[in-house]
């Protein structure tokens, strides 16, 4: 028998029950990398010398090294680092870091680089007229960012956020390499008993596929709602809004 359908059907709900672990890992990774990535993007936009240099080096390293290698590096280096810090402070301990923390750290560090690019591209895609308009009415830098630029930039970022989120869900599947019991981990454990690897991994693939399909739809809906001010088909007919009119008027003068 090539494919044991009975086993696949039996283990499907068990693997399904591991979805919260995968989602938790994804959400933690997304939250941390969003915050760090946003700070880095702002540093680069405002051209702070040290931090923009730091973040461009950070990004080339994170993007040039496979996430698998980073995961292993965190796996072996993090306990060592904590242990040596503890020893320097005179505490003798044996450090045992939970696998979830290892995986979350590695994924967050890696995705920070991606999120930085998502946010930076989104902020830079806001029309320069918007920046000028904000300055012309005497807004402070903080007001300009918070009330004019970032709300528009965020809408621009949603499609890329969706792609990154889905990419992150797929990459959490590596976490079973450091013994996290996510969808992959559960599948492998179930398969190990009777060597039904093919069936278990097929189940896992179906679950990931369904999850990502659902998320793609959700992000699509969000994008349509958030971007309502930008859509051609809901603008009032017969009125020109935006820069076309302004530009021609300026040229006529």
């Amino acid at each position: 028998m090539i494919f044991n359908f009975e086993f696949a059907a039996e283990s499907f709900p068990k693997i399904l029950s591991a979805i919260p672990v995968t989602l938790l890992l994804t959400v933690i990774g997304m939250a941390v990398s969003s915050i760090l990535g946003f700070l880095m993007a702002m540093a680069r936009i405002e051209q702070k010398k040290f931090w923009s240099g730091f973040s461009s080096v950070y990004i080339t390293i994170m993007r040039g090294v496979p996430i698998m290698v980073q995961l292993y590096l965190v796996f072996v280096a993090l306990p060592l680092a904590i242990q040596s810090i503890a020893e320097a402070m005179g505490i003798k301990t044996y450090v045992d870091i939970p696998p979830m923390v290892v995986a979350a750290t590695a994924l967050s560090l890696n995705y920070t680089a991606y999120m930085e690019e998502v946010f930076r591209a989104a902020i830079q895609s806001v029309d320069s007229g918007q920046w000028e308009a904000a300055i012309s009415i005497g807004m402070t830098k903080r007001q300009m960012m918070a009330e004019v630029i970032l709300p528009q930039a965020f809408v621009e970022a949603i499609p890329n956020l969706g792609n990154t989120f889905i990419g992150l869900i797929k990459d959490t599947s590596l976490a079973y390499m450091v013994m996290v019991m996510d969808i992959m981990g559960e599948a492998r454990t179930l398969a190990g008993a009777g060597l039904n690897y093919l069936e278990a991994y097929a189940d896992a693939a179906l679950i990931y596929w369904g999850l990502n399909f659902l998320l793609e739809r959700l992000f699509g809906i969000w994008e349509r709602h958030a971007g309502v001010f930008n859509r051609k088909d809901v603008r009032p007919a017969g009125k020109t809004i935006g820069r076309t009119k302004v530009k021609t008027a300026a040229a006529g003068r």
Binding site: V65, P66, V76, K170, Y201, A205, W209
Partner: protein, 240 residues
């Protein structure tokens, strides 16, 4: 210091596996490009059934982790060969074979999207111009659309290929030895002592190879855009 020592010691051992992985990678690129072109052709010119099938295939490849795809190809092909055809030798097939198949299938699906959007972004006026001088369809494709679409597709394609090279590090889960696989083996031999140094060496080598690939792809892009640059220079010369 222990870590630094193992870093230095690991480098020559890790470098020794790079040529064979690059060779396999070249094979994957070749098959991936052909598969991607075939799939793009079905999506652009095929009938409804073909279109739906290709769509499902691409959605599956994009919606599931590559790691699972590798494992499914690995266990699936072996199960078919052993249980379906009674070929007991299948359990001794080299890991590189499964890697080759899984990565080609994966790359083909991603390249299909790149090729399709490059094809549709070629201006239709170009096709009309070809028709107006009575070119055959195949001539229009190979002499007009393909050179322009290739130039448009290349930046995206090189990103995908570099990602694919990095993704080869996943293949050690089925026992394929690339830089990561070798590094894991070395770290296992020393029972974890100096593992940080070894994995740092692995990371550094991946980074270097990716940078090298990046430079190569940039050269190719530069070469392919030569006629465009000549034309732009000519226009600039006329208008100035």
């Amino acid at each position: 210091m222990k870590q630094f020592e193992s870093f230095i010691n690991a480098i020559p051992k890790l470098i020794s596996v790079i040529p064979s992985t690059l060779l396999l990678f070249l094979g994957i690129i070749g098959v991936g490009i052909v598969l991607g072109m075939l799939l793009a052709w079905v999506r652009l010119k095929g009938n409804t059934v073909g279109n739906v099938l290709v769509n499902i295939y691409i959605s599956f490849i994009r919606g599931t982790p590559l790691l699972i795809q590798i494992l499914i190809v690995y266990f699936g092909l072996r199960a078919i060969a052993v249980n379906g055809f009674g070929n007991q030798n299948a359990t001794r097939w080299p890991a590189a074979l499964f890697v080759f198949i899984a990565y080609s299938l994966n790359l083909g699906a991603f390249l299909c999207e790149t090729f399709r959007s490059a094809y549709t972004s070629v201006d239709f006026g170009q096709v009309e111009a070809g028709m107006s001088i009575n070119m055959k369809n195949s001539q229009i494709f190979w002499h007009i659309i393909f050179p322009q679409a290739a130039r448009i597709a290349l930046p995206n394609m090189s990103n995908l290929l570099i990602d694919d090279y990095k993704a080869l590090s996943l293949a050690f889960s089925i026992g394929f030895i690339d830089i990561m696989g070798r590094g894991e083996g070395l770290a296992g031999l020393t029972k974890g002592v100096g593992a940080v140094g070894i994995y740092l060496a692995v990371a550094a080598l991946y980074w270097l190879v990716c940078k090298g690939l990046d430079i190569v792809f940039r050269r190719v892009e530069w070469g392919l855009s030569k006629d465009i640059r000549v034309a732009q220079a000519a226009v600039a010369h006329q208008t100035s």
